[in-house]
């Protein structure tokens, strides 16, 4: 599997990078004609011509990653040989002809975005057992098929993976009978091939991402960032240039650029460099073309990355998109920067919060903020013209919550890099009726055994380490002769984050399961 994994990781980005070398027509209709011709050239030898197109292919809709995986399977199981330029053109064509609309892909973006932490919920317990026991629920939720094709999918599945009938959560049911009489129909109802939403999106004129964008985001463990992205077009590709500033402790400027393709009119997939680190970008352009949201990540370590949102600068409304800090202590004076668009208006704040403007332009306002020492703890509104935001004044931290509350990390070894887990500590205070969120604060991080078994197996000594940004780095994979049973370095850990508040400390706790590596890394898990 190791060779396959390597290809999978690069996935779509390989086409982006290799295709950059070849001039490609910028004209979408030319691309469409070329894509159609290529699909016929490469696929029609096996996929018979049916009523509305080639068999199977015309009965299925997928994301670009989904089509990428299909071509990968055809290469590895059915001897398809396709060069990367053609492969790219085929994926682009199929994603446009038989893709998913923005609404259809919206519930499952966490998987496309290669997040290491997400909570995945199946539509019901049967599908959780039948599909979700091996796949994310996004794996099937990001496919649309005719009922007939969902049934063919069942035939393929057990033919390719005969052991699946025997696995736990399959062997307790009459698997084959169930999937061929009931499940395929259920999937066809949940994820039908034909939808009005897709017909509408396919017919719509796609919006161009070219222009100036106001960017804000957050790097877990590092803090927020803000800045400008400038997008231009060259042929089939878009170039993004980033001029960003880290608002966290590092305070560094973040610069770089990327080359991207927009599939299906909204699926931005980029490959770039930020401060010397190779990155991948998975963003979705909003239906009106005025917003982009998603995540970028380290090209090799998908667990490291940043939340990303961008709003188009031209004609943008007055809005605060992020700020350098969400809170201030009673009696404290500190600098707080607000970042957004159209921030030229008068700055004011609720009584109890003193403000003076240090610097102001249309995208940023830097304020000297003073919280009155008698200001009642709570949320204080701050306005810049029509834009509204709030700063929390607190007297004392009452509680700390660690996020994620529970998650997993994966041991690393061989061709599988370790998958870290990033924690953050958020301070809260007691309000009149419920707790009030103060904000994310720096913390001291510790690991402890989660329970008696973990203590007995000395998981803390073996499973890995946490650094003071709250990032847990797992140990190496494989049997460990130094452990009881020579078992691997898996562990069940309590992650403790301590926030100092004057002379007292408040702690919060999360659970981390350190588990084994994944053996394959398809773009959609």
């Amino acid at each position: 599997m190791s060779g396959k994994r390597g290809l999978f990781i690069s996935g779509l980005m390989l086409f982006v990078l290799s295709a950059v070398l070849t001039p490609v027509s910028a004209d979408d209709s030319t691309n469409s004609i070329k894509g159609k011709a290529l699909v016929n050239d490469y696929c029609a030898a096996c996929h018979e011509q049916a009523d509305k197109g080639l068999a199977r292919i015309s009965d299925v809709r997928k994301t670009p990653e989904g089509w990428d995986m299909t071509i990968f399977r055809m290469e590895h199981l059915h001897g398809l040989a396709v060069d990367s330029d053609d492969r790219f053109a085929i994926i682009k064509y199929l994603s446009a002809e038989n893709g998913l609309s923005p609404k259809e892909s919206a519930p499952f973006r966490f998987v496309l975005e290669q997040r290491a932490h997400f909570v995945d919920t199946a539509p019901n317990e049967d599908l959780d057992a039948l599909c979700g026991r091996c796949h994310t629920n996004a794996r099937y939720g990001l496919q649309r098929r005719t009922a007939e094709d969902w049934l063919k999918h069942m035939h393929f599945h057990v033919g390719q993976y005969p052991s699946l009938e025997y696995q736990a959560r399959a062997r307790d049911r009459f698997w084959w009978q169930e999937v061929t009489s009931k499940t395929y129909k259920e999937l066809a109802e949940l994820y039908p091939f034909q939808t009005a939403d897709w017909d509408q999106w396919k017919a719509a004129a796609y919006k161009s991402p070219v222009g100036l964008w106001r960017v804000t985001g957050h790097r877990p463990g590092q803090g927020g960032y803000e800045g400008i992205m400038t997008v231009s077009r060259t042929g089939d590709f878009f170039k993004a240039e980033y001029d960003l500033n880290d608002m966290g402790q590092k305070g560094e400027s973040i610069t770089g650029n990327s080359k991207s393709v927009v599939y299906t009119g909204y699926e931005w997939r980029g490959s770039g460099i930020l401060n010397g680190i190779e990155t991948r970008e998975v963003y979705a352009l909003s239906e009106d073309g005025n917003r982009m949201t998603g995540r970028w990540h380290d090209a090799i370590h998908y667990d490291i990355g940043g939340e990303f949102q961008a709003v188009r600068m031209d004609g943008a409304e007055t809005q605060v998109l992020t700020k350098s800090s969400d809170y201030i202590r009673q009696g404290e004076t500190k600098k707080v920067s607000l970042h957004g668009t159209g921030l030229t208006g008068k700055v004011s704040a609720d009584k109890g919060l003193g403000l003076s403007v240090i610097h102001q332009n249309s995208t940023s306002v830097t304020l000297q903020v003073t919280a009155d020492k008698n200001a009642a703890p709570g949320s204080y509104g701050v306005t810049v013209g029509q834009a509204e935001t709030a700063i929390v004044v607190y007297d004392k931290i009452d509680m700390v919550k660690i996020t994620p509350e529970w998650t997993i990390a994966r041991l690393g070894g061989g061709n599988s890099p370790a998958v870290s887990a990033q924690f953050e500590a958020t301070a809260y205070m007691k309000g009149k009726t419920d707790e009030i969120k103060i904000g994310i604060m720096p913390a001291l991080w510790q690991i402890k055994p989660f329970n008696a078994d973990a203590k007995q197996m000395k998981d803390v000594d073996f499973a890995g380490r946490i650094d003071q940004s709250g990032r847990f780095m797992p140990a190496a994979a494989g049997p460990n002769p130094d452990r009881k049973y020579s078992t691997n370095n898996a562990g069940n850990l309590a992650i403790i984050g301590l926030i100092k508040d004057g002379d007292h400390q408040v702690s919060g706790k999360a659970q981390l399961i350190v588990t084994v590596q994944r053996w394959n890394l398809p773009p959609i898990r």
């Binding site: 096996c46 996929h47 018979e48 080639l54 068999a55 199977r56 063919k152 035939h155 393929f156 057990v158 033919g159 390719q160 005969p162 052991s163 009938e165 025997y166 736990a168 062997r171 307790d172 009459f174 698997w175 084959w176 049997p479 009881k484 049973y485 020579s486 078992t487």
Partner: protein, 375 residues
């Protein structure tokens, strides 16, 4: 439980009588030795003399892929049949020389056939029974064909094709030939007693369809044929008492299923509240005990249906077998060693490391044979 005890003792006496007869006959002909057979990645089988605690033969299995799956020795201990090549082939190797004597590659034109561990050799050594999933590879789709049992003639050589086939229920993971060769047991949702000529199911031994009150469906998955010394197949069965609270440890039961391949006697008895996982079990030649393995080695008293011994092992072992005289218990499967235990004290008394760049025994069977001593 009294009943099974009596039956087991009876079976034991009978088998001892047979053994002593065989022993006398063969003593006149040639010296015999008991061997253990296991397999390792990449595609090797190993023959181990357990009394001497050494590997005496290692053979590369031709076109095996990496993994050795289930194995069954011929009754005379001369040939071992091996499910391999991603369970798409069954290979018979001469245990002494490693020569490939038999090979059935299951693929048939555009029909891909794949086993799932389940196969057995007839007691007369003439036929092999293999469970197969069949997938027709059409131009743009796969089509499942009925699951089946294919019967091969062991004398068919290296391009063996089935001499007969019959449909079989899905999800079979174990095939077992009765000692008198009259029946074929196929284990899946239940255990089906089949006519080995026609595939007719003459009796269904209930498992999924068991009728225990206040009990969940049983959970069983076993593909380790380990009945060499007793002709009694045994496997752990997990279930939940539904009349107890979900947080009550007594709600979770581990039982032992036994099927006597000689008498047909079939029983399932709980022996503990589930506290560890057990992957496979073996019955002692005297019929008094069962031994189960995974991360622990467990000893079960079959008179009282109680757990009477358990130790932590050095690492996980999937398969357990036992010497014909009951004097040693062997564990293998997973990692690259076979450990020997004293069945009385459960103390480890030996460990044999497997050669040939071993990359794990994986789910290879652990079989015992008695045959002419290998020189």
């Amino acid at each position: 439980m009294g009943k099974i005890g009596i039956i087991l003792v009876g079976a034991f006496l009978l088998s001892q009588a047979l053994l002593s007869q065989v022993g006398q006959t063969e003593a006149q002909a040639a010296e015999t030795t008991e061997y253990l057979i296991t397999g390792t990645k990449p595609g090797y089988i190993h023959i181990l003399d357990m009394k001497k605690q050494e590997v005496v033969r290692s053979h590369k299995v031709p076109n095996a892929g990496r993994t050795i799956f289930s194995m069954a020795p011929s009754p005379d201990g001369k040939v071992v049949y091996i499910m391999t090549n991603r369970m798409k082939s069954l290979v018979g190797l001469d245990i002494d020389t490693g020569e490939q004597l038999f090979r059935a590659d299951f693929i048939e034109g555009n029909i891909r056939r794949q086993g799932f561990f389940a196969f057995d050799v007839s007691r007369d050594g003439r036929e092999l029974y293999v469970y197969q999933l069949s997938t027709e590879i059409l131009l743009s789709e796969y089509k499942q064909l009925p699951t089946r049992i294919a019967v091969y003639d062991t004398s068919s050589g290296l391009n063996a094709r089935p001499i007969r086939t019959f449909e079989a229920p899905r999800r079979i993971h174990m095939l077992m030939k009765s000692k008198d060769d009259n029946w074929l047991y196929a284990m899946g949702f239940d255990i089906y007693k089949m006519n080995p000529e026609t595939g007719e199911i003459v009796e269904t031994l209930p498992l999924r369809n068991w009728t225990l009150e206040n009990r969940s469906l049983p959970d069983v998955l076993d593909f380790w044929p380990l009945w060499d010394q007793t002709d009694i197949f045994s496997t752990p069965v997990y279930s939940v008492k539904t009349d107890l609270a979900a947080d009550d440890p007594a709600a979770y039961k581990t039982g032992l299923l036994t099927l006597d391949l000689e008498s047909g006697k079939y029983e399932i008895n709980d022996f503990e509240d589930t506290s560890v996982l057990i992957f496979s079990t073996v019955i002692s030649p005297n019929g008094k005990h069962a031994f189960g393995t995974y991360t622990q080695l467990s000893k079960i008293d079959l008179d009282s249906n109680r757990l009477i011994g358990r130790i932590d092992q050095d690492h996980t072992y999937y398969a357990v077998n036992i010497a014909a005289d009951g004097s040693q218990v062997y564990v293998g499967g997973a990692a690259c060693d076979v450990a020997t235990y004293d069945p009385e004290t459960l103390k480890k008394i030996g460990q044999i490391f497997l050669p040939k760049g071993c990359g794990d025994q994986s789910t290879a069977s652990l079989r015992m044979i008695q045959r002419e001593t290998l020189k």
